[in-house]
């Protein structure tokens, strides 16, 4: 039996520039256990509900994370709207859906770039971020922000997108598809990338289910879980099927994200075609008195925003269960039995978002 060593991974690592730490217990090159350690920058945002009224708190929810900012904001607003019985206008629901899908595209392309950097493909990293820039430009033109959207509020949205601009967005994204095809072909077909990803970090469907995994991590193992099929926002008007792969390895997780970029472009096209004229918000009267668990599909999977109000303008409780937090047990399971050299790639393909986790 080999001697056991503990190799620290993180909280600072060139492949994962976010503060999460793993103590990797190894026997030779094989990992036999992984002990995660989080909370290096825990912000306690959940308790800010004591100091910000439920309308102001939208801005806090928007800032939980950079990559998933809009989804946090939308999930929080949905929860408050459910508690208060607010009927959001249909146009606002479509606009929320379009912005949510733009956020998913830019998050997934960003992931592709970071993954390319981890493989040592500097040019591919640059090309990925160049394409992401096109999406950020659309977000900036329609919301005023590039990362923090600030466009969602309780009762609707703050800004409208006129129909001509929507057509322009669809055209720009359609044109981008050709470049995306070229970019993603490298990820799908390149020999070296396949060598690093195929068969590495295998995770079965049963494990994904029992360990409560969500998002691309679950869908890459054949577990078709996608909260968008619940039909929140305008998803009930759109045709959507969860993107599922069955490989269960790092390569399958990469494929899920690539296919989801194209799916999001198609969803934006559908939404732009079906959006109706009308108001974009309703007046909010009263204060929240009740509770609701809002479920939204972020780029990394199902996020839950729990809101409980007692009739005052300050919420009694706000809780966020982020996808990365629920994926950590799965992460430990995947790391056990893998090789030390594969750890950066495995963790990267699981795409942990520590900013969300340290809410």
């Amino acid at each position: 039996m080999a001697h056991k060593n503990i190799i620290p991974f993180g909280p600072q690592h060139p492949v994962l520039p976010e503060p999460i730490h793993f103590d990797l217990v190894t026997e030779d090159e094989k990992i036999v256990d992984a002990i995660p350690s989080i909370s290096y920058v825990h912000r306690g945002l959940e308790r800010l509900v004591e100091k910000r009224d439920f309308n102001d708190f939208v801005h806090v929810a928007d800032r939980i994370c950079g990559l998933c900012s809009f989804m946090h904001c939308m999930g929080y607003c949905q929860a408050v709207e459910e508690v208060m019985g607010i009927q959001v206008p249909e146009r606002a629901l479509f606009l929320r859906t379009i912005w949510a899908e733009l956020a998913r595209i830019h998050s997934h392309i960003f992931w592709l770039g970071v993954a390319a950097d981890a493989f040592g493909y500097e040019s591919l990293f640059m090309q990925s971020l160049r394409l992401r820039e096109l999406v950020l430009d659309i977000i900036e033109e329609t919301t005023g922000g590039r990362v923090i959207f600030g466009s969602c509020k309780v009762g609707g949205v703050r800004r409208d997108i006129d129909n001509e601009t929507l057509k322009g967005i669809v055209n720009r994204l359609t044109n981008m598809k050709a470049e995306l095809d070229e970019l993603t072909t490298v990820f799908i077909n390149d020999y070296s990338i396949q060598h690093r990803l195929v068969g590495v970090g295998f995770f079965s469907k049963e494990d994904a289910y029992t360990l409560g995994c969500v998002g691309p991590m679950a869908r890459a193992s054949g577990f078709a879980l996608d909260m968008r099929t619940l039909g929140y926002a305008a998803y009930k008007f759109l045709e959507i099927e969860p993107v599922v792969e069955y490989g269960g390895d790092c390569y399958a997780r990469c494929l899920v994200r690539i296919r989801e970029i194209f799916q999001s472009i198609d969803l934006i096209r559908q939404a732009a075609g079906k959006i109706s004229e009308g108001p974009i918000d309703v007046k909010v009267k009263g204060t929240p008195d009740g509770e609701y668990f809002s479920r939204v599909e972020q780029p990394r999977g199902e996020v839950i925003h729990y809101v409980k109000g007692n009739g005052s303008k300050f919420l009694q409780r706000f809780r966020v269960r982020v996808p990365t937090f629920t994926n950590i047990p799965g992460m430990i399971k995947v790391l056990k039995g893998s090789q030390v050299a594969d750890v950066p790639n495995i963790i990267l393909t699981l795409d942990p978002c520590i900013s969300c986790t340290e809410r």
Partner: protein
């Protein structure tokens, strides 16, 4: 669209039995959450099967012990450690117990009753006949949104 959500209030002692049943029925554990009340804590165990959301709920006093469900749902250990670290509740037999070191917080148990007093809910106003007349004269569509 409002997603139907089932909230079932249970006895603390029945937790393991009910959770075992849900596991056998194929439910996945979605989350475990805790809410600070005036002098107790409300625990929510959320499950999902085929997008059917079910929530188990019970209330515990600060000194009460809770049995871990991590023997049934292995991923529960993370939520239980979180509740222990943030709320100070004692959860017994967690499969992977961090003993209070999962969260690095400036103060211990920042979400506990001592550190996180729950504000009183607003009392309904008793309106005098004069106030009622004044209210009727006011614009009924008063927006309570703060200035942006």
């Amino acid at each position: 669209m409002s997603e139907p959500q089932e909230i079932i209030v249970i006895e603390k002692n029945n937790l393991l039995g009910i959770v075992s049943d849900l596991f056998a029925q194929g439910y996945r554990l979605v989350q475990i959450g805790c809410t600070t009340l005036q002098s107790s804590y409300e625990l929510n165990y959320s499950f999902d099967k085929d997008y059917h959301f079910k929530n188990l709920r019970f209330i515990v006093a600060p000194e009460e012990e809770i049995q871990s469900i991590s023997v049934i749902y292995p991923n529960a250990f993370l939520y239980e450690n979180e509740i222990h670290d943030l709320f100070g509740l004692t959860i017994k037999n967690i499969t992977i117990d961090y003993h209070g070191t999962l969260y690095r917080t400036a103060i211990s148990t920042p979400f506990s009753i001592e550190n996180c007093p729950v504000p009183e809910p607003p009392k309904p106003k008793r309106e005098t006949p004069q106030e009622t007349a004044e209210t009727q004269n006011q614009n009924p569509e008063v927006d309570e949104q703060p200035k942006e």
